[in-house]
């Protein structure tokens, strides 16, 4: 069966190579038979990748330690759930998962009927085939997941899975991230297909809108699940540490978000064509670059991914694709004639440029900070660290400005806004934000001015979103005579794309509140206490009652008992843990979290002595962190709403063709996105 798995990979490589060549040949000659066989090739690649994937999963679940990968990442006592998730614990398995997702996407695209009448599909398919070739090649010759343990022996027991990876976050974070990463290959492939066939109108954008948004959704989820995992499992007290590996998934998220917005300008205005091409090329390249950062070990990261031989391959592939895409773009530049549609500096399309500037600026800042240690070492020969203080000071203001623009953009009309409308739209949110800020200053004495401005901006955006919903409902209720709630439901459902977008924004605002709150108002106390002693943090009083332990399979779980009181109210007992794994040298922390909408009480057991009579406990009060996750759910719902299919899904009227009178529809009736 080992041979079947490896054979599937080799065949997958051959089939991908064939499909890449055949699609191009078929398209050039207009030979439908070759094209059909190439489409079959895409489907076969998906089937072969699935075969290899299923076989590896089978080996993992049945603990076949003859396979090096299974031996490296699992042990027989691991719960079946984590045996399965070990599929993406190491390089080889991760690549297999990547190619699995990619080939399925590819098979769907290659066999899709839409866009079929145009010539581009074979080329789109060829681009995806090239990606597939590359990843099958890596599996076949660089990181073979079916390699055997040297010497042909079958070890009795496996190495075990890193305890940090034994968390539900381990299941969701990598998978969503990959679905996102790989998903961006689709709009990229369509963009290249459009360039190759010189059909550079916005059809590729329309066709890939849903792919893009879903890829973006998964990338967002990947980041959020990563944050949650770090928060509950790693016991660093935080959910984001600006580590290179985290940045690697944040940078393409930023450019992807920019792309998502700027394509709307092209859809409506026939402009920014070159820019959109550039953005999707960059985003695609960054997904490969992210994988390179994670897998190569060129930058110091707290995430212990073993450095491997993959680095140069990934970098080389990214370089080749980048050169190819940029060459193509420059070569077709003349075709990308921009429409003449900008009427005013003060318009939604102009504000989208600002949005793009800030998003891409933040992406650049993060990228620059992430690679600066390499630059410093190359230029000066001195190693430097670029850590949280840098990103907080550089990315912080940019992202805050971005948040502000997020409030402003949706309210500015397409075409040409006028000051009167803007004043009407903004005076209320601005005033309420200022009032909110003043209340905050008095309610929380000693609040950092950055926190106050962060909250004020977030509140401003919240108010603008609320106002948009309120106005929509009022107009609708007045015109149809429906009751407010019915009007709200119908309004949102009939304008899914627009109000879905607003919901996503609402989710982002909630996340912003959580980030500002937890960054600036976090309390932290670390104390070594004897049994009976009390640790006081904010309103909380934790009484240490002693240590205890229990046996979980071969692992020993040590935990401290702390009775929690808030004011006079008893909140029960929290039990932060340290787990000693039978097959892992270091103990791992399990944080105890007592959460509420207002704040999380977050307790870490740092260590103990004197047979548990004394213990060192780290207690954090992290305000508003739950809103990070709630915001995440709102964002997911909004995204699903925005891409939900059906008759009413878009209101994206394209009214600015050459013969349409301008100006009269945009201001009053359409501020939508």
């Amino acid at each position: 069966m080992v041979d079947v798995g490896y054979l599937a990979i080799l065949l997958g490589l051959c089939v991908s190579v064939y499909a890449a060549v055949a699609t191009v040949t078929g398209a050039r000659q207009g030979n439908e038979r070759i094209l059909r066989s190439a489409r079959g090739g895409a489907a076969s690649a998906a089937i072969l990748a699935s075969v290899a994937g299923v076989i590896l999963v089978y080996f993992l679940v049945t603990s076949n330690f003859r396979i090096l990968y299974v031996w490296q990442y699992t042990s027989s006592d691991l719960p079946a759930f984590y045996k399965f998730s070990a599929l993406w614990a190491g390089n080889a398995g991760s690549l297999l998962l990547w190619v699995w997702v990619l080939s399925i996407y590819w098979a769907i695209v290659a066999n899709s009927r839409r866009f079929q009448e145009r010539l581009a599909i074979p080329y789109v398919s060829a681009i995806l085939a090239i990606n597939s070739v590359f990843f099958f090649f890596l599996l076949a010759f660089v990181e073979n997941p079916f390699a055997l343990v040297p010497g042909g022996v079958t070890p009795a027991e496996g190495n075990g899975l890193n305890p940090l990876l034994q968390n539900p976050g381990m299941v969701f974070h990598p998978v969503t991230l990959y679905l996102g990463y790989v998903g961006f290959a689709i709009p990229y492939a369509y963009a290249m297909g459009a360039l190759i066939t010189r059909q550079v109108d916005d059809l590729w954008i329309k066709v890939t809108r849903r792919w893009t948004i879903i890829a973006w959704l998964f990338l967002t989820l990947g980041n959020l699940y990563g944050a949650q995992w770090a928060y509950v499992e790693l016991g660093w007290g935080g959910y984001w540490g600006w580590d290179p590996v985290e940045n690697a998934s944040f940078i393409p998220w930023l450019t992807g978000t920019a792309f998502l917005h700027s394509v709307m300008v092209q859809e409506r205005k026939d402009m920014l064509k070159t820019w959109n091409m550039l953005l999707i090329i960059i985003t695609y390249a960054l997904t490969i670059f992210g994988t390179f950062l994670v897998r190569s070990g060129v930058v110091t990261s707290v995430h212990a991914f073993a450095g491997s031989a993959l680095g140069p391959y990934l970098l080389g592939f990214m370089g080749l694709m980048l050169i190819f895409s940029l060459y193509l773009l420059v070569d077709r530049l003349k075709l990308l004639q921009e429409g003449r549609e900008f009427e005013s500096y003060l318009s939604k399309e102009a504000s989208f440029l600002v949005n793009n500037l800030l998003l891409v600026g933040a992406a650049f800042a993060t990228f620059w900070g992430t690679i600066f240690p390499l630059i410093s070492e190359a230029v000066r020969g001195v190693k430097v660290t670029v850590g949280p203080p840098y990103f907080e000071q550089v990315d912080g203001p940019i992202l805050l400005a971005m948040l502000f623009v997020l409030g402003v953009c949706p309210l500015i009309a397409w075409q040409k806004a006028n000051w009167k409308n803007l004043r009407e739209s903004f005076s209320l949110p601005l005033a309420s934000a200022v009032v909110f800020a003043i209340i905050l200053v008095f309610a929380v004495p000693g609040a950092d001015w950055r926190a106050v401005s962060g909250f004020a901006v977030a509140f401003f955006v919240l108010a603008t979103i609320f106002l948009e919903f309120f106005r929509g409902v009022r107009v609708r209720a007045r015109m149809t005579g429906e009751r407010a709630l019915t009007a709200l439901g119908r309004l949102v459902w009939r304008n899914r794309r627009r109000y879905g977008g607003y919901m996503v924004h609402l989710g982002v605002v909630m996340i912003a509140f959580a980030v500002v709150g937890s960054t600036f108002f976090m309390h932290e106390v670390t104390r070594t206490v004897n049994a009976g002693e009390v640790i006081t943090v904010g309103d909380y009083a934790l009484t240490y009652q002693g240590m205890d332990y229990r046996q979980e399979g071969r692992n020993t779980v040590y935990f401290a008992n702390l009775a929690v009181k808030k004011g006079t109210r008893d909140l029960g007992v929290v039990r932060p843990e340290k787990v000693e794994y039978a097959n892992w040298p270091e103990m791992s922390s399990e944080v105890a979290i007592m959460g509420s909408l207002k704040e999380d009480l977050y307790v870490i057991l740092s260590g103990w002595g004197n047979y548990g009579r004394e213990a060192t406990i780290e207690v954090h009060v992290n305000p508003l962190v739950s809103w990070l996750w709630i915001g995440g759910y709102v964002l997911v719902l909004g995204t699903i709403l925005a891409v939900w299919p059906g008759r009413d899904r878009t209101l994206g009227v394209r009214y600015a063709s050459a013969s349409t009178p301008r100006g009269w529809i945009s201001e009053e009736n359409d501020r939508g996105v």
Binding site: G241, P389, V441
Partner: protein, 170 residues
């Protein structure tokens, strides 16, 4: 007209309040810092340093023995009356620039790290400004050449279409 005056006054008042809030906020921040000098300063120093045993973690989040020792050392130095800068210099002297959690900006080359993102954004803003300028200009020129009479005539027809379309979506 009177209305406009009101609005202007309101905007001016808003701007004033924003400014006051910002000033009040920064003032409040300082007084807060002054209250608990030792612990706040310690936290600040901790946040600006890295753990030095190659774990790659910021000192503030690291929990291993090396990190504990470093924290102890910082506390002792603070107690001995060393200033924040002196502690940083001491740490950099022993462990090199790498010990700082962000590239120290007094090294000229490190300024590149700090300034580059903002320069890039400024450059981007300039490009956007120039592009917008050209596009808006182009557009206005094009608009001048178009005969307006036809559009006027179409307007009524479009008004009807608009009403019908709006009904459809509501």
């Amino acid at each position: 007209m009177r209305n406009r005056g009101w609005q202007r006054a309101a905007i001016a008042a808003l701007a004033g309040v924003v400014l006051a809030v910002i000033l009040a906020g920064s003032g409040a921040g300082r007084s807060y810092a002054a209250q608990g000098v030792d612990e706040t300063l310690f936290k600040k120093i901790e946040a600006n340093l890295m753990c030095t045993d190659g774990c790659g973690m910021p000192l503030a989040t690291c929990d291993n023995a090396t990190a504990q020792n470093m924290r102890q050392q910082i506390r002792e130095q603070l107690a001995a009356g060393l200033t924040e800068q002196e502690i940083y210099s001491y740490m950099v002297g022993i462990y090199g620039e790498e010990v700082m959690a962000a590239p120290p900006p007094h090294v000229p080359f490190n300024l590149v790290a700090w300034v580059m993102p903002f320069l890039a954004i400024l450059a981007g803003a300039l490009i956007i400004y120039l592009a917008l300028d050209r596009w808006v200009f182009d557009r206005r020129q094009a608009a001048h050449r178009e005969p307006d009479a036809a559009e006027e005539a179409d307007l009524e027809a479009y008004e009807g279409v608009l009403q019908r379309e709006m009904k459809k979506y509501l």
